[in-house]
């Protein structure tokens, strides 16, 4: 197990290098630089050039790249140009918000997705199945940011029940935190629930046809027990796979939802950095997202072993 984790971690290094190379390529291709953000429209080219020198942006890309890798290897993601603080600090400060949003949405999407998917499978080809699948499909087809906007208009502006945006740290005020996360998490959940529900349904349909489910039925166990205890654990493997797949999409969705609900998460940090050409933050942020993605996939792989005793890592 440990050696499997180690091997997986080793094999993700090339992926991370590729990610950072791609980010550099992006930065290299991109016109504009952070200097312009400090200045308004009437800044002269000399002023911009002056500022570029101040910010160390007049170095050639390869030398910027080398020094970046050098620093990353010693665990330093560098300094943000605009935020005037270390990139690692900025990221770590934002990370909990993005992760908690993604985790909340993932939790509810998995919970209700499995519930709905199982209900649909058990009622296969009946009214319940078709209506649940229709709902799942509707969720998949709604533009997330648009749903967020509509929810803001209804729940924040018209009804005034929930804040339209902003973030309250959980350490400060739990209720406030829950209120600030309610709409974003709901928005994200709705758009992801369909994936899980659909996967659960097809996996459950598959499993319910299996011999061992018939064996369990032959034992005279109650149907719900058979479904929950015998069928569901076997359906979890494909559900887990799709969960791993949507985790990437979920992070992307979180980025958009953060934007709509003004949550100061990693996504906002990165989009802000893209728009202001804060290169170290773009680098560090994208690298962090890649790390999260890889970690999620590693966890998924490890969970396989937990769910299915046949899977063993040597």
């Amino acid at each position: 197990m440990l050696s499997f984790v180690l091997r997986r971690l080793l094999s993700s290094i090339p992926v991370l290098i590729l990610v950072s190379l791609m980010t550099f390529a992006l930065i290299w291709l991109v016109p504009g630089d952070p200097a312009s953000v400090f200045l308004d429209a009437s800044a002269t080219p000399e002023q911009i050039e002056n500022l570029r020198r101040q910010l160390g942006l007049d170095q050639p890309i390869w030398s910027q790249m080398l020094s970046w890798y050098e620093r990353v290897l010693s665990g330093d993601l560098g300094q943000s140009i605009l935020l005037r603080r270390s990139v690692a600090d900025a990221i770590l400060e934002r990370l909990p918000i993005t992760l908690s949003l993604a985790a909340l949405a993932l939790f509810f999407a998995v919970l209700f997705g499995i519930l709905l998917g199982s209900l649909a499978a058990v009622n296969h080809q009946r009214w319940g199945d078709q209506s649940i699948m229709a709902i799942a499909l509707l969720g998949l087809s709604i533009p997330d940011f648009w749903l967020g906007l509509v929810l803001i208009v209804v729940f924040a502006v018209q009804l005034g029940w929930l804040p339209s945006g902003g973030y309250v740290p959980i350490t400060e005020d739990f209720v406030g935190w829950a209120r600030s996360m309610a709409l974003p998490a709901f928005t994200l959940t709705v758009t992801q629930i369909g994936f899980i529900a659909r996967m659960t349904r097809s996996a459950m349909l598959d499993v319910l046809r299996q011999d061992y489910v018939r064996t369990a039925d032959a034992k005279g166990l109650s149907h719900s027990f058979v479904v929950l205890r015998h069928a569901l654990p076997n359906a979890l493997v494909p559900i887990l796979t799709v969960t791993g797949v949507i985790a990437g999409g979920l992070l992307g969705g979180a980025v958009v939802v953060e934007q709509v609900f003004f949550l100061p998460g990693l996504g906002r940090l990165i989009i802000g950095a893209i728009l202001s050409r804060d290169f170290p933050v773009i680098q560090g942020g994208l690298l962090m997202l890649a790390v999260i993605y890889l970690v999620i996939n590693l966890i998924v792989d490890l969970l396989y072993a937990l769910i299915d005793p046949r899977v063993r890592y040597g």
Partner: protein, 295 residues
């Protein structure tokens, strides 16, 4: 049919009879009928926009700004005083065009990359590693980064979205190529001395087409959703030509006072994407029952 591969074989040597059964099943599938119907309606509206739209979508009248829906303007007007219904109808043109171009680009590049990786063993590992790294970027951030920095044009939006959807497509193509590559008739063709590229295209790719078609239907849906997100972030296709996304983006500053500017194009996106998803589901059921909802 229990095994999708058999369908693929039918595709290679279309037996008139089997082709007809396939067509019958395609037509009989409820998802395809409903989804295809929705997509067809929106497509027809978009294509015949000049005939259907009640107003010129670009004609502004600042004296008729932000009018609520009425008999004159069914969907109200935006802050230019432009008819939102007409803009939504015309917006379908750009959104569908972007979706289509993304499907085309993703189809071509996904097939090339996935096909080569699947067919040439030597390429498989390095190429797929690259795809892994690529997928470790959240697709939408990649699209935002590309579109924001290269400037918002239809071309750049298409490039951005294609970059985001290609790796997964390549994976799917590769997976089916791996399966087909080992099948007897490919071995046979190889034994007969067919050149690699010919084998690749004629046999392997033709037979990987079912999952590709299904995937591309979803890519179409993803592209339409993503175009709207890009517009919302402010890096979508530039005005004045309306797209679903930039109509919403235009309306968001007036979201509270004039929600209709935001709501109607959102519903339009929803309908198209729903149609495409239904279509994809139906195609999957008929063409390739092995595929799951994963996409």
């Amino acid at each position: 049919m229990a095994d999708g591969r058999l369908n693929a074989v039918e595709g290679l040597a279309p037996h008139a009879n089997r082709l007809r059964t396939l067509l019958v099943r395609l037509v009989a599938n409820r998802s395809i009928a409903l989804g295809g119907g929705l997509v067809a309606i929106i497509t027809l509206l978009a294509v015949f926009a000049p005939l259907v739209a009640p107003y010129d979508p670009l004609e502004s009248n600042f004296r008729a700004r932000l009018l609520p829906p009425s008999a004159e303007h069914w969907f109200g007007t935006d802050h230019f005083g432009r008819d939102v219904l007409s803009r939504v109808i015309y917006g379908g043109r750009l959104s569908l065009e972007i979706g289509f171009l993304v499907v085309l680009a993703t189809g071509i590049f996904g097939t090339l990359i996935g096909g080569c990786a699947g067919y040439f063993r030597a390429l498989d590992n390095p190429v797929m590693r690259l795809m892994d790294a690529w997928m470790a970027f959240p697709a939408i951030l990649l699209a935002i980064a590309v579109s924001a920095t290269l400037g918002a044009s239809v071309t750049n939006v298409v490039i951005a979205l294609s970059l985001a959807t290609t790796p997964h497509t390549a994976r799917i193509v590769r997976a089916s190529v791996l399966v087909v590559r080992e099948m007897e008739y490919v071995e046979a063709a190889r034994a007969l001395g067919a050149r690699d590229m010919r084998i690749l295209f004629v046999h392997v790719l033709l037979n990987s087409i079912a999952p590709l078609i299904v995937r591309l239907t979803y890519v179409f849906a993803i592209a339409i959703l993503a175009e709207a997100v890009l517009s919302y972030i402010g890096v979508g296709p530039p005005p004045p030509a309306p797209s679903f996304g930039n109509i919403i983006a235009n309306g968001r500053d007036f979201m509270v006072e004039a929600p209709w500017v935001t709501i109607f194009p959102g519903v339009a996106i929803f309908v198209v994407v729903l149609g495409l998803n239904l279509l994809g589901d139906g195609l999957r059921d008929v063409l390739d029952p092995r595929m799951r909802v994963e996409r």
